[in-house]
């Protein structure tokens, strides 16, 4: 998987309430959730973001609630992937499970500014900041998670295991 897109940069400890406020959790419709993605951080984000854009954030992205609506909202508003210094653990798990590509890289976060264009290769972890002419390497995705991705996500791997009754 390769992506090329424009950076939307966010700070540290972006919690799931800012990614998708709880007042919109009375639905799980991705299109509806997408309209309010990052609303309390940047009210215009959902209308400005373009398909293929990339969220770059500081540490502990996605902290707080276990709501899978958070990665769903991000993916549904067109964001191709999220690069952060670190992710909160439930958000990390949820993203793999529902298919939002995420990578961890200190250097890429240090270098990227709002609006920079990045090329990301999910398979190799290569991040190319085209605007600044810099190349970074993301922390490798654990082999187990890579297997999960190759199997098509958690539910696909369970279906293949023949345990669905």
């Amino acid at each position: 998987m390769k992506f090329k897109g424009k950076v939307w940069k966010f700070g540290a400890d972006i919690d799931t309430d800012r990614i998708i406020p709880a007042r919109y959790l009375n639905t799980s419709d991705p299109a509806e959730l997408a309209k309010h993605c990052m609303e309390d951080e940047d009210p215009a984000f959902a209308s400005k973001v373009r398909a293929g854009d990339i969220i770059v954030a500081e540490k502990n992205f996605g902290c707080g609630s276990s709501r899978e609506h958070a990665p769903i909202a991000i993916k549904a508003c067109g964001v191709a992937c999220v690069i952060a210094r670190s992710f909160a653990r439930i958000f990390y798990r949820n993203s793999f499970n529902m298919g939002l590509p995420i990578l961890e890289s200190d250097e890429a976060v240090d270098a990227a500014g709002n609006g920079d264009v990045l090329e990301v290769d999910m398979d190799t972890g290569d991040i190319h900041n085209v605007t600044k002419g810099l190349k970074h390497k993301a922390r490798p995705v654990p082999p187990f998670m890579q297997e999960l991705i190759r199997a098509g996500g958690l539910m696909e791997s369970i279906k293949k295991s023949g345990r669905v009754r």
Partner: protein, 423 residues
Amino acid sequence: MRRMTITEKILAAHAGVKEVVPGDLINARVDIALGNDITAPIAIHEFKKAGATRVYNRNRVVLVPDHFTPNKDIKSANQCKILKEFAIEHKLTHYYEGGEVGVEHALLPEKGVVAPGDLVIGADSHTCTYGALGAFATGVGSTDLAAVMITGELWFKVPESMKFVFKGKLRKWVSGKDLILHIIGDIGVDGALYKAMEFTGKPIESLSMDSRMAMCNMAIEAGAKSGIIAPDKITKAYVDKRAERPYKFYSSDPNAAYSDVIEYDCSKIEPKVACPHLPENIKNVSEIKNIPIDQVVIGSCTNGRIEDLAVAARVLKGKTVAKHVRLIVIPATPHIYNEAMKKGYFGIFLKAGAVISPPTCGPCLGGHMGILAAGERAVATTNRNFIGRMGDVKSEVYLANPAVAAASAVKGRIAHPDEVVRS
């Protein structure tokens, strides 16, 4: 044999192996899988999409519509209906609604649905509350819940454990809530990222179950995978009359390996307040001067239990809520509601000018039953003070224990309980 922590022992037992080491990836048997009205609809959708027709065990899949209930609007009502229909179709033993439903993390221990030694997953981040019973309990997302509903198992990475050792005597008005706020203030909102927090020491051994639950509840607020307290005679007294299944007590081996061991002296810990907009922004209540408030919420999966209402009643007895302050008291379960009524707390609350809400998560997550307007400020016994958490993006939430919350309601500003109660 490797010396293991309580967390490692529970995980090893559920993975069917003799020992585990932090970093190991295991497939473990899940005792209880929980979903609520926000997270379960997605799990049920995934369950159906996978072609599943049976849950792995109808006694072990638990659905608790507690967040936007009593149904706050048509959309929420439709979400709740998904849970109800699924529960009926699959004959789930543990589905609660109407006058039976309470805040999930208060309800499940109270009903004996979760027990010591269990491995519990819940599609709710505060599932870590059950660590107070000596269970391994962690929050996951809806897809993970769907996987467990089908298979009864889930993959886990064995976490490193962090040991928190408390010493000394608890000061007046200090509860489990203050101890966990103190820790979060010390290590930060990602200070225990991916780790298991183990709370130990003499003061913990004499802590009530309600206070232990408040502590483990907020482990997630330090980024942890779980929080746990070794079960003891206090745990036994609590679970013996409740547990619906045989349970098992685990404890950490002496000299088990920890990534960190951090000691705290309780004699130096005062009632705490977490200031906006992160639970790590901790101050002593006594340091906070003249912060006027508009609302006080006493409730939630952190502090909506009987001990919490008792201390609030103690502070509010014979007092009146300050003019222009809304005090909302939310007993976390129907049982707690009934207890509080029988003990006479409701009379005290009503006389003070409080509103008593039915059990619900409600305002904690800005759902309903007490939403803040722009510029309004609340003191809440809940667990998160993120931007916009209880309402408008320009509102503020200060987290505190129930005594501080009650005293603040009386004073109309953030206040120490000693300012209200003469000892």
